[in-house]
Symmetry: C2
Subunit: 281 residues, 2 copies
Amino acid sequence: MSKRVAYLGPAGTFTEQATLKYAADAQLLPFASITAVAAAVGAEVAEEGVVPIENSLQGSVTETLDLLIHGPPIFIRHELALPIEHYLMGKPGVEVEKVQVIYSHPQALAQCRSFLERCFPKAQMVAALSTTGAVEQMQQSPTPAAAIAPLRAAELYGAEVLARHIQDNPNNVTRFVVLGHSDHNPTGGDKTSICFSFAEDRPGLLYAVMGEFARRNINLTKVESRPTRQVLGEYIFLVDLEGHREDTTVRDALEQVRGMTSMFKVLGSYPRMRTNPHPKG
Amino acid sequence: MSKRVAYLGPAGTFTEQATLKYAADAQLLPFASITAVAAAVGAEVAEEGVVPIENSLQGSVTETLDLLIHGPPIFIRHELALPIEHYLMGKPGVEVEKVQVIYSHPQALAQCRSFLERCFPKAQMVAALSTTGAVEQMQQSPTPAAAIAPLRAAELYGAEVLARHIQDNPNNVTRFVVLGHSDHNPTGGDKTSICFSFAEDRPGLLYAVMGEFARRNINLTKVESRPTRQVLGEYIFLVDLEGHREDTTVRDALEQVRGMTSMFKVLGSYPRMRTNPHPKG
């Protein structure tokens, strides 16, 4: 039996595309929310779950971060990145110059604003709850309409692609993580995600934690903070670092950090993808 | 003539409440977005603008952070906090036990989920674009309805309060900032917000920056990262620190940091509010 992989659905979204890229042969199970994907993994409805964690324009997906911090024990075991490419699509045979209404998720409409102002200055923009919902609304529209959605939605719904890669900023990439009951074995090119907080608000505590990594030459690839949900101004820090939690130096550093913090959690070690396709000089 | 203060509207929202708390005698001008508030200040339609920057449960308001990072020159000159208290309201004389539909913004509905499940297990929840929009929809509803909104909305719309403080988590506080053409003079109890990034992804750069503050005993009250919007995995750091940019030690530290970073901006120095009303032992 093929592996069951839960993902943030519905079919036709960028998360489905990422899940197909990760595990094309798996049995894909769509869920309505990030929390539901994690619950499906927790209840063993699926062996793994795929959720977005970060976008190059919008930043972190806070629902995923808060789930990793506050949710039931679940681990990151993979990461992968997907370029976010928006397509304009219509019913087969629609005449582009007659399009009066354009449906999409507000975020997709915002990401294609220049294209829309240039090419469809008179069309009405209508918000939909998801990009696939936009395709459905487009198909039911009595007036000539189009929808902005991923290419996969055009395939699934039999829509005709009218324009491709219409997003204003070409640097639009989303990073996804694969969640499971355990993290990944060491591969030699790994990354580890941790989160921690402090019982007291004393100057220099975060600096001292970062020093444990710096003096072992462990590179931090991400430092982020989220609210504790207890008191405004108190934070939980999320740090991504290079190396596997079983590497001797990383293990030593994590042991030190555990002793310096009031809450400490290893969210997982997993193979590190190349995040920078266009490295600077 | 009284001071004109722009705010994220419409009237009846928490940002209006915060603006009234900040400047009760000012002429309040509502704007439809955070970007529009900043533009109003930039164009001198208003002397100051009030926008939310952080919530104790949801975290940072990323639109405000990105505006401060990427937007036109504008400074933080004040901060203030407001407890977020949700009220259930209906048309005057409505019978609570007959309420069939409850309108609100999805975030407000989510923050009152336990109350709604306990007290209105059979009512239908309907999403509105804003809490004041919810009050309008409630007033036009042919079936007995209620709306979840701030107390101020009940006053403005003549609605009757049916239940108070119905949010599930009592630690729900939003921090607002006042934006202007200049920041605040030193008061002796100040805070400074900065942002910066690095041209190269070299281990220890952020640690070195934090060291400049640590060895001068300057407390960092917040460390946060946002995407550069150029390449996935490259970040702009936002740091809040205690002290005014004109204090000798802070000025020295900022000069050092400016030399270590490729982008560096002082977002403003302003009087520090007490963020922790329930200090730990």
